[in-house]
Structure formats: C-alpha cells, structure tokens
Point group: C2
Chain length 288, copies 2
C-alpha cells in the first residue's frame, strides 16, 4: 500500500500507473509533476492525480513512492533535482526502456546507485501518448522487468514489485545488461528496421507512387515507425552498445539472405523462412 505516490511525467505510462493503483485501492494520494500545465490540469480533472507541482523536488515531498516516467535524456536531471527532497524511506523507480543508462545516471548523481532506486521497465504501451490515453488496464497481464543492482535494497525491490502486482502485471527480475540486450533484440532493433525501411522508401525518387501500392502487411510492419522520433533518438543513444551489437548481428543475417537470393539457393532460403515462421508461430502461441 502506497500512502503518497509522486508521478514525474503524467502521460500514458505514468497516468496509467496512477489509474491502476487507484482502481486497486493501492494508493492514498497521487501527486503529479510535468512540464505541461494544461496536461497536469487535465490529469487532475480526469481524477488521475489529486494535485500537482511543476517542480519535481516539490512533487516528491512526503511521497513514499516516486515513479519517473520521463524521457531517457531527462532522467539524470530529475534524479539530481529530487535527490535532496526525498523523504526518508522513499522508494524511487522508473519506467525507462533502457536500464544501463538509468543506473549510470544514478551513479553520476549519487556517486553510486542508491539503495532506494529500483530501475524498472513495464513492457507496455500503445501508439497514443498523453494523460488522455492513460487507462487502468494498461499493465494487466503485461510483463514488468525490474533490474536491481548490487546496491539496491531488497525491501525497495519488494515494494516496487508489490506495486506492479497490484496493477495486474507479471513482475520478473533481470540483470541490467541482460535487460538492455533483450530489449535491443525485441524492441529497439525492430523499430530501427521499421524507421529505416520507411526512410529508404521515402528517399526513393518515385516515393509517392511507391507508397500508393503498399498493402496491409506494410501497414502493420511499419506501424512502429509512427512512434515518437524524440523518444527513439533518446533510446538509441541510451542503449547504443547493445543496439549496435544487435544491428551488427542483423546486418550479417541480411547479407546472408542477400547472398542466398543472388546465388538462387532455394533450399537455404526455404530453410531460413521456415525457421523464422516456426519461431514466430511458437512465440505467438506463447503469448496466447
């Protein structure tokens, strides 16, 4: 049970956490913080937060749980700002897509990652953003990965885990670097391919005509290229080592594929496509 939750960044991710905890009766008061005054006012109107401050240090006063749902590049500054204002015993966690950079940011601000900081990542989201898009069910049956480090207090991890469980999420724990590798593979690389594909086509001379003949599969395939450019720039920079490694791995695969096509190696092409379909169908069965 959380007495006072401070949500820094009241958008889809932060707003949905607040809504879910309220619906579960797992939170007393919710204090919001963000840069956009109209968004904060709207969040209060919608009942997502009880009150707000535009100053993160003010927002966290007296909070026993602080959730940081800010862009990756803003993490360090927010940690710096809230550090002197945190209540004794307060736990801080975040929703960032990369965890190594959050741990590094915390190290830079506090000298070493503090015991009360539990790096976390809810694997959830929609294409929409802003508090209007927030809903209590966003995290139900979704996975949340926590990546405590050596310095993290076990009881802080337990409290964050209980918070996410109250939202209906399935919580797992993972090494920081392993998290960043897994996400590079399943999320960051696919986004690079979607952005890269659409950009390749957009740069072709007859691009208007080309897009006209794209069918349904293209629409699905490129949906993630409609994501926020700013957010993805930040994720790329924050996870550049793991993502670079995955890009390298994929480039080798693509070069192999191009060679099989050039050499008209039907047997190997069939084997590759069959292996991929089998893996994809297995994954989809696993999701069901």
């Amino acid at each position: 049970m959380i007495a006072r939750l401070a949500v820094i960044g009241v958008g889809l991710i932060g707003g949905s956490l607040a809504r879910a905890l309220r619906e579960a009766g797992a939170v007393g008061e919710v204090v919001g913080c963000g840069r956009s005054l109209p968004n904060l006012e709207r969040a209060r109107e919608l009942g997502v937060i009880d009150r707000f401050s535009q100053d993160p240090a003010e927002a966290v006063v007296g909070a026993d749980m602080v959730f940081l749902a800010v862009p990756m590049r803003a993490m360090r500054g927010v940690l710096e700002t809230i550090a002197p204002a945190l209540a004794p015993g307060a736990v801080v966690t975040d929703g960032g897509s990369v965890k190594g950079s959050v741990v590094a940011d915390a190290g830079a601000v506090f000298g070493a990652p503090p015991p009360f900081l539990v790096p976390g990542h809810p694997i959830a989201g929609t294409e929409r953003s802003g508090v209007e898009a927030a809903f209590a069910e966003l995290y139900r049956d979704r996975r949340v990965i926590l990546t405590p480090v050596e310095q993290t207090a076990p009881e802080a991890v337990d409290r964050v885990e209980a918070m996410w469980r109250a939202c209906g999420a399935e919580v797992t724990r993972m090494d920081v670097s392993h998290h960043d590798e897994v996400l590079a593979a399943t999320s960051h690389l696919p986004h690079m391919l979607a952005f890269g594909l659409v950009d390749t086509l957009a740069r072709m001379r007859e691009n208007d005509e080309i897009f006209r003949y794209a069918a349904g599969g293209f629409r699905d395939f490129t949906r993630i290229a409609s994501s926020s450019p700013e957010m993805w720039r930040d994720i790329c920079l924050a996870n550049r080592e793991a993502l670079s490694a995955m890009l390298g791995r994929f480039s080798v695969e693509l070069a192999d594929l191009a060679r099989l096509i050039r050499e008209e190696d039907g047997d190997e092409l069939l084997a590759l496509f069959a292996r991929a379909r089998e893996a994809r169908d297995r994954y989809i069965d696993g999701v069901r």
Copy 2:
C-alpha cells in the same frame, strides 16, 4: 461478362475472384483446377466453382477467361500444359506477385509473350490460405496492377480490366520492371526484414527467453514472417534482381543508422526518425 472462367489454383486468391464475379453476376460457369482433390470438392460444395478437373488442359477447354493463381515456380509448367487446349479468343491472366518472371515464362513457352496473356497482380491477400478463406469482398477497393507488354492485345487487357472492375478493384497499368521494383520495395523487402529479424532472434542462444519479452509492436512487425516459406522462396527467386537492388539500398540505410548510433549523432537520428514518421503518416492518410 465472362461465359466460362477457368481458375487454375482454387485458394484464397483464385476462390475470391470466382466468388466476387459470381456475386457481381459477371460470370456464367466456373471451372476449378488444382492438385488437392479434397480442396476442389470443398470448393464445389461451397459454390465457389461449378465443376473441376485436376488436369489444367482439361479445365481450360471452352473457357473464355483463364486465371492462373498458382505458385510462381508452377507458372511455366501450367502455361505449357494449357497452351494447346486454349479456346480461340480465350484470355489468360494471372495473380502472381512478380511479373517479369511470368513474361519470361511465357516467352519460353510460346517463343514470345502471346497477345492473349495479360500479366496481372491483385494487391490483396490475408494470412489465411485455401478456398475456405476465399470471400467475395477481398478485392473491393484494392488495387490490381496489370503489366501488358508490347505483344499484348489491347482488347485482352480491356477484358481483364473489366473483370477486376466487376470485383470492385481499382485497376492500374504499369511497366513490368516498374511493377517488380515497386513490389520489391513495398512487399518483398519488408518480408525479408521480418523473416530475417525473427531468424536472427531465433538463432540467439537465449531465444526462448527473448521472445517472451516481445511486446505488441513485435507481434505486428513480424506478422508477415508467418507467411508461407515456399511462396516466399519462389518470390525471392522470381524477383531476385529487383529484390537484390532493394536489399542493397536498405543495407546502406542500415549502415548509416548504425553509424549515427555509434557516433551518438542525436540530431541526425532525430531527422531520420522524423522523416520516416512523416512519410508513414502521409501514406496512412493516403490509405484512409
């Protein structure tokens, strides 16, 4: 108006054409042909075809319109088989995803592409296959590209165009090589990326765990990797020149992207992602 339509390959594509033409009252009799006897029997039960033969030469006898909905690699053999059995004045068209190879197949069989052959490509489909998946609305408001060559009779093209219009499709005409380039860009390359991504992940040691953390975006992005491996092997081989060129173009894009990440060039990353999102949103608006 078609008096007798022969559909060689009664699956989603061929079966939906028959259903659409019947619904439009634009066809008299439909004769089916295929390798699977149970599928043909089912097609007759469902009313998609009136009768069938497993011999393509027998199936086309007396037909004024012949539609080839067979795998790319089967085109040449089918053309060879039906050539001596075609009625005078019969028009032959196909639904293959690559057009250069169909024209080459026709050249090999007939010496030169015959006047009665209209290479075509309906840009439609679902993940399902077989006659059970066929439905009359598949082609409604979808594009069909016809790629007549120098030798093609204009009245044959007009008749095929009228057939597709009767199904509610929008028909356009295009050069053979331009069609194959456009499809390499909008369909064949995306399929390679989806197959390649899933295969890359499947080959990683901890692949079961990796797939477990894939979220909704991954599901959409890789949907097309659940397509038929045999069909895609054939498409790759049939369109290898245009597809190799597109793979080359994309590899350059991916190398650029990898360099921007490695060099932490946030401005250029932002510009690339913004350009892609803008193009994707413009395309989606165009589709609506």
